[in-house]
Amino acid sequence: MSALISIRGLRKAYGESVAVNGIDLEVEGGEVMALLGPSGCGKTTTLQLLAGFLRPDAGEIRVGERVLSSPRSVVPPERRQMSLIFQSYAVWPHKTVRQNVAFGLQVRRTPRAELARQVEAVLKTVRLERLADRYPAELSGGQQQRVALARAIVVQPQILLLDEPLSNLDANLREEMRFEIRRLHDQTGITMVYVTHDQAEAMVTADRIAVMNQGRIEQVATPYEVYERPTTQFVAAFIGRTNTLEGTLLAPGEVATAGGRLRAVDETGCPPGTPVAVCIRPHHVQVAEAGLAPPNGNHFRGRVLRSAYLGEARDYQVELEAGGRVRATAPPTSDLPVGSEVTVQLPVERCRVVTR
């Protein structure tokens, strides 16, 4: 399978600070790729590079066989056949909904009747047909968002770029729009690159997620894999809650931590001596009264520090004898008093070795 977008060794610095530090990424045609990471991780810069607003310092961006960006030349945004949804929507306040949507077609000199037909069709797709003659100031945030979507897809771009498209919406609307964007994708089959800092958003909308940190991509995988099989400590901690116990790799699958030796699933392929960490999700951690369960390796002794009843579950924070804390999510029926001595069991098949 050949990728539609392929990014190689992409680098961009603003003066001293390196925003994008050597990125390789392939996006398949028709795929939704999310760039996920905390603010300042370089995801927006990557998108700006993709859109052609920035010139890379090194590396290149290809779409199909064509090189669109390289340090030597950048095809300007207007000739890349990519539409961009801005975080601010960037809906033009002096044009009506219809005029906003029609703009791209006018630039392409679409005949009048054809233009009207296409505008009408796309407005129907985003369910704005009845608001076509309103000005943006008369629309709600979600409606403005849909204008931005309609305006971007009416020109039938090869690729749709989305920069934190939902971050300005309130929580309810955000949830609704996630599915809306996914629906739009499934209807049109358009290739999307979607920048967000919200992991839930990425998991709902994306086929694959590229987790970014400090200008680099840490992992590219499906939502399921990113959650269940993170490869780095950053990914494990950024996607959902996790416990990490730092240590050194003794042998494949064996890590020396402060509390003792731990066995874990190891797909890192790192040589012994590498500083690593062991990750385990709180709901995989088993807590029992000390001495009750027969310890069978991968266990620690500890004391319950805090206990919170959440209705669907009970949340424990356990202070380990060897130092450090572990969070555990137990069934709501579990009821260990604060201060009691417990055994913390970390099932080997749920522990993962990740790089630091």
Binding site: F53, P76, P77, E78, F86, H94, Y135, V155
Partner: protein, 543 residues
């Protein structure tokens, strides 16, 4: 960019260069500086200037601060009227005020003096406007609005809670005002002081009308006199202008530092309720006192101007038979070709200057705000540079630069237009930059991702969004250009008279009826243009 150099850099460079040139041989010399700064007759004006500036600033602050406090923090009756009156003083060119005060307080003929003489049966009235003190009085009147508006703004941002905190600790109203309110407003007060000081130092108008006849010079009038000698001593004038330039730069830097700190102060007090302080029995006496400055700055002067302009000959008094007439208005607008063309020139030159400044400022601001070229910030700095150049100094620079080949502009309208455009470029630039900053670059980028080139995006998205702000930027240049005097008197020739230079000439010739008529017409034209512009804007509602 060439235009920017032509307007800003070349004149300033020539100013410095000329000050170092021997007038006869053209060789480099420091003689001009020696001439300018060793002779007693040239040193006295410098002393006068600083004395005047200090006095003006002190008066302006002493009057402006309490006035601001009364309006912003107390329940003074009629304070809603004070604000527009002080605004009216703000928009009145001080040289117009100076003329009005000549009618009011000239030693013998001044209306107030005549009234006094009639009332107390004395030979003369007490006031003599033709003196350094008279000049200080007039400039101070029109400087008060600086301190007033700065301090009002600060006080209005200040929450009453700050004062309440002191009151709950047992501090009385007076003490709270003295030890909490006043110190918090101190940066604004200092800033007002500096602005008034600078204004008084740089002003040419009131000193020209008042002090030249009084034969008591300040730096700006002395600069003018260098030019009325024969041959004009441009080189000495250039040297003489240097300290004016340096003091301005230094004081504006100082003011910026103070204002920088001021922002810090107001933030702490932001967003809180304010309760007006009850003045109680003091209300009425304070009311009378508070209305004195606007009375002196606005009511009396405009009354005097109107009265003089409506009389055939104001020496005979308005009650003399047949003396009350619209003669001078008909004369200025229709009969006299000089005044008629001067009015047209003023409109044309100001409009041209406003357009040039606006286009240039917006282009530079666009490059700077969108960071499109590597040295954009330098361009922005150059565009702001004229802000620190007093009008009179700028005029000398233009004269030095463009009254010789290769660009012989002196005697043409272009030199006036260029001087206006340069002088008010910073206003246009900061206006355009502020508006552009308010327009998200995404709006333009969105058009580009949809296939529009940079120019099309600019034309179809950014410019329409800018339009409203740009028109007000245009006005912000047009209005001060229309009333510009200090550069105009150096650069005009009989073929390129404008309203202000005509007034200056008439005043020199003692034709005061014509001066006041032209002054009022100037104000009328200004208001008409502003009104028309706002009507135009009102129709063009961009959402």
């Amino acid at each position: 960019m060439l235009l920017l150099a032509f307007l800003v850099l070349v004149p300033l460079a020539w100013l410095a260069w000329t000050s170092l040139q021997d007038p006869l041989t053209g060789q480099l010399t420091l003689d001009n500086y020696r001439t300018a700064f060793t002779r007693r007759i040239y040193l006295a004006p410098i002393a006068n200037s600083f004395r005047m500036a200090t006095a003006v600033a002190v008066i302006a602050v002493l009057v402006g601060t309490p006035l601001a406090w009364l309006v912003a923090r107390t329940d003074l009756p009629g304070r809603w009227l004070l604000r527009p009156l002080i605004l009216a003083a703000f928009v009145t060119p001080s040289f117009l005020g100076a003329n009005a005060w000549i009618f009011l307080a000239a030693p013998n003929s001044g209306m107030l003096n005549r009234a006094w003489a009639a009332l107390f049966h004395t030979e003369h009235g007490p006031a003599d406007i033709y003196s350094l003190n008279g000049c200080i009085f007039v400039i101070a009147l029109y400087s008060i609005p600086y301190t007033f508006s700065l301090v009002t703004a600060t006080l209005e941002l200040m929450s009453s809670e700050l004062e309440d905190a002191a009151t709950t600790l047992g501090s009385g109203t007076f003490r709270t005002t003295w030890s909490i309110t006043l110190p918090l407003a101190l940066p604004a007060i200092l800033s007002g002081f500096l602005l008034s000081f600078l204004e008084a130092l740089e002003l040419f108008g009131p000193p020209a009308f008042i002090l030249i006849p009084a034969r008591e010079q300040v730096m700006t009038t002395q600069l003018y006199l260098f030019f009325s000698l024969f041959p004009p001593q441009i080189e000495v004038a250039a040297a003489y202008a240097m300290p004016l330039l340096l003091v301005t730069v230094a004081l504006l830097l100082l003011q910026r530092r103070i204002l920088g700190r001021r922002r810090f102060t107001t933030v702490t007090g932001k967003g809180g309720l304010r309760r007006p302080l009850r003045l109680g029995a003091w209300r009425w006496p304070l009311l009378v006192v508070a209305f004195v400055p606007p009375l002196l700055a606005v009511v009396l002067p405009y009354g005097a101007l109107l009265l003089v302009s409506l009389q055939q000959s104001w020496g005979r008094g308005p009650l003399a038979p047949g003396n009350l007439t619209l003669h001078w208005y008909a004369w200025a607008l229709f009969d006299n070709p000089t005044t008629r063309t001067a009015i047209l020139h003023s409109l044309e030159y100001s409009a041209a200057a406003a357009s040039i400044a606006l286009v240039l400022a917006t282009l530079v601001a666009y490059l700077v705000v969108r960071a499109l070229v590597p040295l954009a910030r330098v361009l922005g700095f150059v565009a702001m540079a004229p802000f620190v150049v007093p009008g009179i100094v700028l005029a000398i620079g233009f004269l030095a630069a463009y009254s010789r080949p290769p660009l012989l502009l002196y005697g043409t309208a272009f030199i006036l237009i260029a001087a206006y455009a340069t002088r008010f470029l910073p206003i246009a630039y900061s206006n355009s930059a502020a508006i552009l900053q308010g327009i998200n670059a995404d709006l333009e980028n969105a058009a580009r991702t949809l296939g529009a080139g940079r120019l099309r995006a600019l034309g179809e998205i950014t410019v329409p969004l800018l339009r409203r702000g740009l028109l007000s930027g245009w006005l912000l240049v047009f209005i001060p250009a229309l009333r510009e005097l200090s550069a105009s008197v150096f650069l005009f020739t009989p073929q390129t008279h404008v309203i202000t230079t005509v007034m200056f000439d008439f005043s020199d010739a003692g034709n005061y009826e014509a001066v006041s008529t032209m002054g009022l017409l100037m104000m009328l034209v200004t208001f008409a243009v502003v009104l028309a512009a706002f009507r135009f804007l009102g129709r063009d509602v961009t959402r």
